[in-house]
Symmetry: C2
C-alpha cells in the first residue's frame, strides 16, 4: 500500500468514492452519472463493439508508492492499447477498484485526476464500476469498450508466411525502466544521463497506447496485437494463432537512444529487450505489397513503425542475435504462473 | 485459499488455464475461442448493450474452501442479477481471474464446469478475459454484457411517490445462510431441520438471478434494481436517485419458511433480514394502476413478486417494525468502507 494511502482523511463509504469518480462519467449519457446499476452503450450504425479486460495490481503491474496519477494512467492505457491493436477506438470503460483499506481522500482525488488526463487523451469516459475492500494489493480492473467498423477488426491469428513484421515505437524501454526503479545504481552503471534514466522510468509508468495507428492497421495489416508480455512471447502467440513461424533480427529492433546506451554498457540486456514485458507497442503483420503504404501511413499519423522481420512457414519464433546466431531464450516472456 | 487449490497437479502457465476455459467460448463467434486479444460484440438492430462489472473475492463475497462450482456460479450470477433488474438479457461476459498461486488442475476443471452450468442457465458465453497471479485472496471479476430493446432499460432513479414497491422471491435467506455457515450450532438454536438449514446455506452460495422477470419489468415497472447490499440500503439508493422516500412494513416482507422459523426463534433477526446483503432479488417501483398486471405477469413467468410498501414524498426509507414503530437500523446495509 502506498504511503499516500495512509495520509490525509480516509474516505468514508462507497458513495464518497463514487462521488469523486462521477465527474468522469459526464458527457456519456449511458453512464447515467454512475447513478444506475448498469451502463447503456450504443453501437453506431455500421460498427461493432470491441471489449477487453486487463487488471493491474500493486506489486505486480506497478510498484507500491507509485503516484496515483500514474496508476490511473496505466490501468486505462494497458486496456486501450489492445483496442488500438485491433483497429478500434475507445468509447468507455468500467472499473472495479479493490482497496485493502479505505483510501485517503487525497489519494482518490489524485487517482481521479489521473484517470481524467488519460480518458481525455484516449477519448473515452468512465461508464460504470464497483469498489470494494479486501486484503491483498490495491487493484484496478478496467474493462474497456471500443468501436470498430463492421468487418474491420484486425485479428491476431490471420498473419501469413512471407508477410513483413512491424513494431511501433521502440522496444525494451519499459523493462529497462523497471530494472532502473528496482536496482539503485544501475543508471550509473549503464552511463545514463538523468534525462535518459527519467525517460526509461517514464516508459514503464506511462505506456502510450498507439491509437493513432488504428486506421493504418485497419487499412494495411493482416494481423496485429499489442506487445505486453515481451516481443518473443507475443510474437509466438501471433504465430501459434496464425499457424506459421516468424524470423526476426535483433539488429533490426527499434531501440530508444537511452535503451541503446544501456545495451552498449551491458550487451546481455538484449535478452531482456526481447523478453521483458510492458512495451505496449503494436506488433503487426503486413503483406509486403502493403508495407510501404503502411509505413507511410504510420509516419503520417505520428506513430512510426519499424520492420523487424518476416513471418515464415513452420512454427515458433527465431530471433537472430547480433552474432548472427539464434538467441537462446530461457523463457520467451512474462508468465504469471 | 481453498484447500482444493493445494491438491492435485498445479496448472503451468496462463495458456493451460485458457485452454480449460476456451470451450466456454464456443458458440459465440466474437469470442474467437479466446484466441484473440479482444472480443467483438454485435448489438442486434433495435437493441442497446447493457454493461456491468461486479467482482467477488474469497473471504469477502465467498468463503475459503467453497466449492469451485459455487464460486463460479456466484461470480456470474451477481452480475446477471443486475441485467435482470434492468430488463436486459445476457449475451456474454469477460472474466479477470486472480490467483495467489497457480491453481490446481482439479480446481480449474471444477470451476469451469460451474461456469458452464451457470452460463447455460443464463444464456450467455465467456467471450474474453485475463488471468494473473498476485498476493491476496482468489478473486473473480466478471463484466457482463447484455442487450435490451432500445429505450426500454429500466432505470434506478425513475420511481415516483405513490408507486407500489415490489420485491421478488424471499428476503433475508442468504444473510441467514451466511450466519449459519459462520456460527456452528445456530441451526439447532433456530430449530431448523437439515433441509431448512441446507436451503438457507444454498441461498447464500447460489443466488438465482430473476431473468424471467425482465419482460414484466420492462412492461410495467417505472424503476428497478437488484438487492445486493440489503433492502434498506438499496431501497435508500433508489429513493435518493429518484428524489423521493419509501415506506415499507416488515410484516409485509416475503420470508421463506426456513427464514420465518429462524425469526420466530430469534425475533431480533428482523434487523438482519432488512440490512443483510446477498439477496439478489429484484426491487421494483410500479405505478399502482400497473401493479395487478405486473404481479400477474411475474407469477406467469415463474418469479412471483410481493408488494412490500409504497414510494412517498420526502426522503429516506422507513421500515415499520412488527410493533408498528419505525425500526431503528444502526447501519442500513453492507458497505465495504
Amino acid at each position: 500500500m502506498s504511503d499516500s494511502l495512509q495520509q490525509s482523511e480516509k474516505l468514508r463509504g462507497e458513495e464518497a468514492i463514487i462521488r469523486l469518480l462521477a465527474p468522469l462519467a459526464q458527457g456519456y449519457p449511458g453512464a447515467f452519472g454512475l447513478e444506475d446499476d448498469c451502463a447503456l452503450v450504443t453501437a453506431e450504425p455500421g460498427t461493432k463493439l470491441v471489449l477487453k479486460t486487463d487488471p493491474i495490481a500493486e506489486g505486480v503491474h506497478f510498484l507500491a508508492g507509485d503516484a496515483p496519477e500514474d496508476v490511473a494512467w496505466k490501468a486505462l492505457a494497458v486496456n486501450v492499447s489492445d483496442l488500438a491493436a485491433k483497429g478500434a477506438k475507445p468509447i468507455g470503460y468500467l472499473m472495479a477498484l479493490s482497496f485493502p483499506e479505505a483510501p485517503a481522500q487525497d489519494w482518490m482525488v489524485r487517482f481521479a485526476a489521473g484517470l481524467r488526463t488519460a480518458q481525455e487523451r484516449f477519448g473515452c469516459h468512465l461508464i460504470g464500476g464497483d469498489t470494494d475492500r479486501r486484503p491483498g494489493p490495491l487493484s484496478v480492473t478496467i474493462t474497456v469498450v471500443g468501436s470498430v467498423p463492421q468487418g474491420r477488426m484486425v485479428r491476431r491469428g490471420s498473419a501469413k508466411p512471407g508477410e513483413a513484421i512491424f513494431v511501433s515505437g521502440t522496444l525494451g524501454d519499459a523493462t529497462l525502466g523497471l530494472a532502473l526503479r528496482k536496482t539503485p545504481g544501475l543508471a550509473k552503471a549503464w552511463g545514463l544521463s538523468t534525462e535518459e534514466e527519467a525517460y526509461l522510468r517514464q516508459r514503464y509508468l506511462r505506456p502510450e497506447p498507439r491509437l493513432e495507428l488504428a486506421p493504418a492497421l485497419r487499412a494495411h495489416a493482416s494481423a496485429a496485437m499489442d506487445i505486453s508480455d515481451g516481443l518473443a512471447k507475443d510474437l509466438g502467440r501471433m504465430c501459434a494463432a496464425s499457424g506459421c513461424g516468424a524470423s526476426v533480427r535483433f539488429a533490426g529492433l527499434p531501440l530508444s537512444a537511452a535503451g541503446a546506451k544501456a545495451l552498449a554498457a551491458e550487451p546481455d540486456l538484449c535478452r531482456r529487450v526481447v523478453t521483458g514485458g510492458d512495451d505496449y507497442e503494436i506488433l503487426a503483420a503486413v503483406p509486403t505489397s502493403e508495407a510501404p503504404a503502411f509505413q507511410a501511413a504510420a509516419a503520417q499519423a505520428g506513430a512510426p513503425v519499424t520492420r523487424i522481420g518476416s513471418m515464415c512457414a513452420g512454427t515458433g519464433v527465431v530471433v537472430e542475435g547480433l552474432d548472427g546466431r539464434p538467441m537462446s531464450l530461457d523463457h520467451p516472456g512474462w508468465d504469471h504462473f
